[in-house]
Each structure stands twice: as structure tokens, then as C-alpha cells.
């Protein structure tokens, strides 16, 4: 089986817990950070390392919404649509992004640059409406500002960054 993570890194993760099972979430997180998503092969790999039945791994990957089961675009756009953002126009933001990118929620643009998702409260209600793009938080955003941000992201992808 392919070794996705260096043995040293796996050992470090296991060392935080008194039993192997508990290292499952950090292991999946590390795999996703490296590969972008968790493939069926990666699930088998995690199960083998932790000596778990593969269905135990499957269950955890399916339960937690941040574990992604297919490759996504280079930029994952999360639009918060919980109450404080909704009160201040998250629906307008979402509609604008759908139109601009030509995709629906959960879809990726044909060039694999952008994936559009909605998110539950990102705990930045003081910046409503808020949008998270990969690790970066933006808010309060307007459709015009988002256009500018997306153009910058597009340029970054085009120039190979």
C-alpha cells in the first residue's frame, strides 16, 4: 500500500493519544492537507495504520463535513449562511457567486479553479456577510469586492502561484 504520510509524522500524531483509534481525525486531516481530499485508497491506508475496520474510517469521513471525498478546485469558497450573515445579505452574495462562476453549490468550475460551498456559522458574525476562501476570511463583503478578490485569485492561479 502507498505510504501517504511520512512514518515520522504518523508517529508524532499517534504519540498524542493513549490509543491508536484516537489518531484517526488528525490522520485524516493530515492526509487531506497533503492530497486535497480523502480518496478510498486513503481511507484504506488510515484503516491499516490504525488497525481499524475500514467501515469505522468511512463513518468518520462521512460524518464530518470538512472531510472532502473528491478533489476540489484550487480555491474553495465558503459562503456563511447562518443567521447573522443571512440578516445582512448572504443570499445576495451566494447568488452573485453562482452567476459569476456559472456553478451551483457544491460544484467546481470547469477549469478546476473554484469550488463553491455554503458554510454554517464561521464565528465571524461581526464581519457579516462573511466568506472564507481557503484559509482566508473576508467580511463584510459586497458583490463588487468579491469580484475584485476573485480576479486576484484567478491571476494567482494563472501565474502559477
Amino acid at each position: 500500500m502507498q505510504q501517504i504520510l511520512p512514518k515520522k509524522e504518523v508517529k508524532k500524531l499517534l504519540g498524542r493519544y493513549p490509543n491508536k483509534d484516537a489518531a484517526l481525525m488528525p490522520l485524516l486531516r493530515a492526509i487531506q492537507m497533503k492530497e486535497g481530499y480523502i480518496s478510498k485508497e486513503a481511507e484504506q491506508y488510515a484503516a491499516a495504520i490504525l488497525e481499524l475496520h475500514p467501515s469505522r474510517v468511512r463513518e468518520v469521513v462521512a460524518f464530518y463535513s470538512m472531510f472532502r471525498e473528491k478533489p476540489e478546485g484550487k480555491h474553495l469558497i465558503l459562503v456563511c449562511e447562518s443567521i447573522s450573515c443571512a440578516l445582512l445579505g448572504s443570499e445576495t452574495i451566494l447568488e452573485h457567486l453562482k452567476k459569476r462562476l456559472g456553478i451551483g453549490i457544491g460544484e467546481t468550475t470547469a477549469d478546476q479553479h473554484f469550488t463553491l460551498e455554503t458554510a454554517e456559522c464561521l464565528a465571524c458574525c461581526d464581519q457579516a456577510p462573511a466568506v472564507m476562501i481557503n484559509d482566508e476570511l473576508f467580511g463584510p463583503v459586497t458583490p463588487e469586492e468579491l469580484d475584485r478578490i476573485l480576479e486576484e485569485k484567478q491571476k494567482a492561479v494563472d501565474s502559477g502561484q
Partner: protein
């Protein structure tokens, strides 16, 4: 801000670093306690402070610690609940981003108090900056000898690990959080046994919220009596309130426990946007029953809000201005709970879906005269009939919104139409987590 305690370092340049925290007196409480205090003295001082849990339940912290058996041969664990996800709440993220050492010192002192040598900080997976700053602070604390073996030559040892969540609101419930650290899906456990007796890895465990622990260093520096004096008779200290929705200055405000709600909105958050009147306020985060306009003359503390049929919760105040559709607002809240129901208990799993379906039907103009009563009936069959409080959390808004704004849930809703709110929710009713 009137009484700056928890936010004393916020806004200083590099406030998240060890150097700035120490320059402001940081880790002096740890030095003092490890040099001469017994764990029991720490517990007694925190009991005297009237510190109550800031995660939402408001349980007295010192009493919670007291439930940990002293004679157990098993290891004891402290879990820090940094899984902040209650819509309208963003205080813990600010603590971790701006002053992570305050949380860490509180964690070390609290772990010492309950005799724990391993602590886990459970951080929301989405908290990128808060997580990075917490990890950096932990590394600084190890390097300085505040963590690890034989801390400050006291003979006491503690390791702290960060465990990231992965997008699940229910993991903020303490037994779901424990399951999640054990590497499982976040299904809350049946209690008893309570975590204090049988928690993480089957061992005695305390789960405390970030803000709760952040209060501990100052309680031990200035004394429990000083802290108790900052608050109300039964609830010590200041409180971090987060205000959002239709206000001019949304944000984080450290204010005395028991501050009048209207003073908070008018004086601190700059009043309602557009000079509008207030239609309602959700006083403590999405799961707290809404207060109508005539109920806003109220003090913001655990007991007063409880007596008024709502909750202080996590202190997330959401202001709804005149013109807001209460149907759209409740639908937004209930889609959240339907999505975040873990699916374990039938009343919550099915009830939240039914509520969303009925509200969507009303929104489409296909409601019936019986819908308000049906909604309340479903809510009453959820509350108190589930393993964890999520059923209760989803029911409270239904009962309060529908009973206080009944007209808007009838077939011909009043003249007020939807806000930009209640965005379409592709996954509403979904059970994937």
C-alpha cells in the same frame, strides 16, 4: 468598555505572543500557585469566585471540578472546548487569536486543580488563525518551561495537545466532543455516567469552555472574592458578549454580567441600523428563545434570562430590526439545527426536518391555519426527549418565534416580507453531519 478584564491585552501589538502576555503580568498566577498552593486551594478559590461556565449552560466551574473523584487510579483529562459554532457567537475565536496564552495559563492552572497531566484543546477545524496562534503559544510555553515535565520545578507535569474538529456543531456538546477526540463520529453519550467520572478514554474528565478557562488566571491573581464582586450575586466576573445582526457596531464587548440589554445595544453596539425599531432579540446565540420588543428591558445574566424563558447561552446577541421576517429567520435557524442534528435520536432527527418542511411550505404560500400549533407540538415532543440538548436547542426558537409572532406563521402572513435573510440552504434536512 466598563470593566476590562478578559480583553486587557486585546489590541496591543503582538498581543498573541508570550512576550506581550508576560509583560502584562502573564504566568504570574501559575508561578504563585505551583510554588505554594495545593490543587484543592485552587478549586476553593474558583468556587468562591462564582465563575460559571461560559459555553452556554452556566454551571458553576469550581463545583464541576469538584465532581472529579480524587481517589481514582486512572489518569484524568481536561478538555478545552474551542469548538465555537453557535450562530451569533465569536468570543472564543477572538481569545485564541488575540490572547491565546490567557487561555493556556487558565488551562494549566485548571489541569493542576483537577490533577490532570494531559489536556486536549478541541479547536474548530475552520479556525485557521486561532489554531495557528494556539499551536504557536503552546510551543512558546513548552520552550519557557510552562508546559512539559516538572513545570517551574514544581514536580507537576502537563502536556497539552491540539485536536481539530472537522465541521460538526454537535461536537461542542461535551460528550460528543469526547467521542470526537476518541476518533469517532460526534454522537453524544447517554448520561450518567458523567464525564467527571467516566469521560475521555473511560477516565475522569472535565470539559471547560475557552472563555471559562481564560478567567482562571485573574481569579487566582486577584482572588475569588474580587472576581465575584465584578458580577451579579450568583454569577461572577465580566462576560464577553458578541453582538451581531442589525446594529451599527457589531462586535465583541466585555461588559459586566447583568448589564441591561438595551444599554448594550444602544450604548455599546451603536443602536439599530437605519434608526429602525427593534423587532426582537435572540439574547444568547441561535438556540436561545427570542425576546419580543416588549421584553427587552432585561438584565443580561444567566438567572434573569432563564426566569424570562430564554437563556444567556454563549452571550451571542442577535438583533432583529423592524421589517425582519420572523418566518425567514426561524427557517434559517431550523435549517441549521436540521443540518447539525447528528441523527442519533428520532425526535431531533425527524423533528428538525419536519419543522423545516412545514416552514418551507408556509414560505411557499401553502401554509394551513393549523401550522403554528403543529410546529409548537413538534417542538414540545423534541425538548427533553433526546440524549443531548440539541433537541432542546432546536425547539426553543420554534416555540418562542411561533408563539410571539404567530401571525407570521399563518397562511396569510402580515405585510412584512422577507429580509435578505434565510438564504437557500442546499443541505437543509441533510444528515451528513
Amino acid at each position: 468598555m466598563e470593566k476590562v478584564v478578559l480583553t486587557r491585552n486585546f489590541g496591543k501589538p503582538d498581543s498573541h505572543t508570550l512576550a506581550v502576555y508576560e509583560a502584562g503580568g502573564g504566568y504570574q498566577s501559575l508561578r504563585k500557585v505551583l510554588a505554594s498552593w495545593t490543587p484543592q486551594q485552587v478549586v476553593e478559590e474558583v468556587k468562591a469566585s462564582n465563575l460559571r461556565g461560559r459555553g452556554g449552560a452556566g454551571f458553576p466551574t469550581g463545583i464541576k471540578w469538584g465532581f472529579v473523584p480524587k481517589d481514582s487510579p486512572k489518569p484524568k483529562y481536561l478538555c478545552v472546548n474551542a469548538d465555537e459554532g453557535e450562530p451569533g457567537t465569536f468570543k472564543d475565536r477572538h481569545i485564541m487569536e488575540q490572547d491565546p496564552h490567557m487561555m493556556l495559563e487558565g488551562t494549566i492552572l485548571s489541569a493542576y486543580a483537577i490533577g490532570s497531566q494531559t489536556a486536549y484543546i478541541y479547536i474548530r477545524g475552520e479556525f485557521v488563525l486561532a489554531g495557528a496562534r494556539t499551536e504557536a503559544a503552546i510551543a512558546e510555553a513548552y520552550a519557557k518551561g510552562y508546559l512539559g515535565e516538572n513545570i517551574l520545578d514544581s514536580g507537576y507535569s502537563l502536556d497539552i495537545h491540539v485536536h481539530y474538529g472537522a465541521g460538526s456543531y454537535i461536537c461542542g456538546e461535551e460528550t460528543a466532543l469526547i467521542e470526537s477526540i476518541e476518533g469517532k463520529k460526534g454522537w453524544p453519550r447517554v448520561k450518567p455516567p458523567f464525564p467527571a467520572v467516566e469521560g475521555l478514554f473511560g477516565c475522569p474528565t472535565v470539559v471547560n469552555n475557552v472563555e471559562t478557562l481564560a478567567n482562571v488566571p485573574l481569579i487566582l491573581e486577584k482572588g475569588g472574592a474580587w472576581f465575584a464582586g465584578l458580577g451579579t450575586e450568583k454569577s461572577g466576573g465580566t462576560k464577553l458578549f458578541t453582538i451581531s445582526g442589525h446594529v451599527n457596531r457589531p462586535g465583541l464587548y466585555e461588559l459586566p454580567m447583568g448589564i441591561p440589554l438595551l444599554e448594550m445595544i444602544e450604548k455599546h453596539a451603536g443602536g439599530v441600523t437605519g434608526g429602525r425599531k427593534i423587532k426582537g432579540v435572540i439574547p444568547g446565540g441561535a438556540s436561545c428563545p427570542v425576546l419580543a420588543a416588549h421584553e427587552l428591558d432585561i438584565k443580561m445574566d444567566f438567572d434573569t434570562l432563564m426566569a424570562a424563558g430564554s437563556m444567556l447561552g454563549s452571550g451571542g446577541v442577535i438583533v432583529l430590526a423592524e421589517g425582519t421576517s420572523m418566518l425567514a429567520t426561524l427557517l434559517n435557524l431550523e435549517r441549521f439545527f436540521a443540518h447539525e442534528s447528528c441523527g442519533q435520536c428520532t425526535p431531533c432527527r425527524e423533528g428538525t426536518r419536519w419543522i423545516v418542511q412545514i416552514l418551507e411550505r408556509i414560505e411557499r404560500g401553502e401554509g394551513t391555519a393549523g401550522d403554528p400549533d403543529t410546529l409548537i407540538d413538534i417542538a414540545e415532543h423534541m425538548a427533553g426527549r433526546t440524549v443531548c440538548p440539541l433537541g432542546e436547542a432546536a425547539a426553543g426558537p420554534v416555540k418562542s418565534f411561533v408563539s410571539k409572532f404567530r401571525d407570521e406563521f399563518l397562511p396569510s402572513p402580515g405585510s412584512e416580507t422577507g429580509p435578505a435573510g434565510a438564504a437557500r440552504h442546499a443541505r437543509a434536512g441533510g444528515q451528513e453531519g
